[in-house]
């Protein structure tokens, strides 16, 4: 640790605090103030609109699916990237990071091109089997998975690298099969990385906007998600309701982070 003189230390703290306050704190406080500007009136108005409650349910459903799928694939791909050598490994690793750098709108458009029912690559044949992807839940889950793809993998990979495969080899030499090694040794060792990945994925999925706006078709009362409702309400001069729904989205994310930080054991114990 570098130790700075006391005044410099306070100056640094002040700068950091001011930065975080201006960027995150103040806007959030204002949002909460606006949401509660008329007491609970905005919330009452929002929740009396069945389209709003429906959009919240859709958002939570889509997010839970995306979290479940990305957790399984995230852990699987993490293991693949760390424990195995195969040609194209670096390409796969780069591909997993792609959603970080590509705008969600572009991701939405790309999925639309491949899966739409009229001239997409897979769309028509899937629709002839009764599976509608675009403007429907499967497409929305896919878009959310795509956007949140790196979050679990990138939490899990460094931990897998750090623990090495000694414990797994020891377990195998003690008679454990592949599934037993995974369940009894690998998963408990990476448990907290997975939990963090899940929370980040959930937070990211709840807030996804761009890709879903394109893929869902933004059909009110059907495929419209909560962030899309926020935009619609705002554009329709129902700012109060927009703030209320926003507040609920923020609340869920904050709760997730709180729960994890309460559950997580102290660093020294790990």
């Amino acid at each position: 640790m570098v130790s700075l003189p006391l005044p410099a230390r306070w100056a640094v703290r002040l700068v950091v605090l001011a930065y975080v306050f201006l960027l995150v704190g103040w806007p959030m406080i204002t949002l909460v103030q606006n949401a509660f500007a008329d007491g609970l009136e905005s919330f009452r108005a929002a929740f009396s609109d069945p389209d709003v409650t429906h959009s919240l349910i859709v958002t939570i459903e889509i997010s839970l699916w995306a979290v479940a799928i990305n957790t399984v694939f995230g852990v699987g791909m993490g293991l693949l990237l760390v424990r195995y050598e195969f040609p194209g490994k670096r390409a796969l690793s780069a591909l997993i990071d792609l959603p970080m750098s590509v705008s969600p709108v572009v991701i939405g458009l790309a999925l639309l091109l491949v899966y739409n029912g009229r001239n997409g690559w897979f769309g028509p044949s899937l629709e002839s089997h009764g599976i509608v992807v675009i403007f429907n839940s499967p497409g929305m889950i896919m878009a959310t998975c795509f956007v949140a793809l790196p979050l679990v993998v990138r939490e899990v990979v460094p931990v897998l690298e750090e623990i090495g495969d000694d414990q797994e080899q020891a377990a195998r030499s003690l008679g454990a099969g592949a599934v037993q090694v995974l369940r009894r040794v690998t998963l408990p060792a990476i448990k907290w990385a997975v939990v963090y990945g899940v929370v980040l994925t959930l937070a990211r999925s709840l807030g996804e906007f761009g890709a879903l706006k394109i893929v869902s078709g933004n059909l009110t009362g059907q495929t419209q998600t909560a962030p899309l409702v926020v935009e619609q309400k705002y554009n329709n001069f129902a700012q109060g309701e927009a703030y209320a729904v926003s507040f609920i989205l923020v609340l869920i994310s904050v709760l997730c982070i709180l729960v994890v930080s309460l559950l997580r054991p102290k660093e020294s114990a790990s």
Binding site: D166, A170, R172, L174, G177
Partner: protein, 327 residues
């Protein structure tokens, strides 16, 4: 014979780790695989355990062909240099792991774990996490864990390599005593010749992916098969055209022994009870000699004095082929 290795080859890319290795390791004994780092000894151990697969050749454990068997079916205990403890489990859970995998009844598991923790002197730590143990304690726990499943063979990969000198010495003695108490066939890898000589019943010297010699510590020390084994097992010096141990050279003050070589003492150092000296021959060769302090005093050895050097009778001697070609 307990472990039979036949014609085993192993490459990692261009690097030849093992080349046509044939060896049999006896049942119930403590065998050391000794050699320099990168010589292939750990690879051989990992092939016996099934953690690595040989490119060619066969591995037979207690009469069963294990060449293609997965590690979990071989019933071998493996102890790693860096312990490989299950960090999220208590000491007792670590030791119980193999038994729980085998779905043994709870009472039996508890009794066996208690017995093993007593054996490795860790009973009072049963409910601790491995992070609360010292390195030596972790390694003893890893040993108990490996022994819990009553393996046919116990394999240890540089088991004391990550420990400090004092703990190393203690654990080494302890392993020897443990093996006398629980006589399971044990193979351990080490690059420390002292460790191998002190603990093992039999030593397999491995270098450059090949087996140089197999034998008891005494036979290896007294009758090394070649230059490498001789040099790896102890100090070596060259006198004329032979290589031998510095303490196997007799010093006289007059040329009264047949085949004596005259030399002048260049340097003389006293270390405790022994005296080490370097003598220069007329051909310009520098010979190291070790003798006792009383002998040096009796002969009145001083720097600059003329002495005669003769290999003592019964000394282990190897022709100095390499030096002749080079020099």
């Amino acid at each position: 014979m307990s472990i039979e290795i036949k014609n085993v080859n192993k490459r990692f890319g261009d690097f030849v780790a093992l080349e046509d290795v044939n060896v049999s390791l006896p049942t119930g004994q403590l065998t050391a695989l000794l050699g320099p780092s990168g010589g292939g000894k750990s690879t051989l151990l990992r092939i016996i355990a099934g953690l690595e697969r040989a490119d060619a050749g066969t591995v037979n454990i207690e009469g069963v062909d294990a060449t293609r068997m997965s590690p979990q079916k071989r019933n071998v205990g493996f102890v790693f240099q860096h312990y490989a403890v299950f960090k999220h489990m208590t000491v007792a859970k670590n030791v119980a792991f193999g038994l729980e995998i085998r779905r043994k009844p709870k009472d039996e598991v508890r009794a066996r774990v208690d017995e093993l923790l007593r054996l490795v002197h860790l009973s009072q730590f049963a409910d601790r996490l491995p992070s609360q143990l010292s390195g030596g304690q972790r390694q003893r726990m890893a040993l108990a864990r490996a022994l819990a499943v009553q393996p046919k063979v116990l394999l240890l990969d540089e088991p004391f390599g990550a420990l400090d000198a004092k703990v190393r010495k203690e654990l080494r003695d302890w392993l020897r005593r443990l093996h006398d108490e629980v006589p399971v066939t044990t193979v351990f890898v080490t690059h420390d010749q002292e460790e191998a000589m002190e603990v093992a019943d039999e030593i397999v010297v491995i270098n450059d992916g090949r087996i140089e010699q197999v034998g008891t510590p005494d036979s290896l020390y007294d009758a090394p098969a070649n230059d490498f084994v001789m040099g790896f097992l102890g100090e070596v010096t060259q006198l004329g055209e032979v290589r031998l141990r510095p303490h196997d050279i007799e010093i006289t003050r007059s040329p009264d022994l047949a085949g004596g070589t005259s030399a002048d003492i260049l340097r003389l150092t006293r270390v405790g009870f022994e005296v080490r000296l370097v003598a220069g021959t007329e051909e310009g060769q520098e010979v190291s000699v070790v003798t006792t302090r009383s002998h040096a005093r009796a002969l009145a050895l001083e720097e600059g004095e003329r002495i005669w050097l003769t290999p003592s009778s019964g000394a282990a001697i190897v022709p100095a082929m390499k030096s002749l070609l080079v020099g």
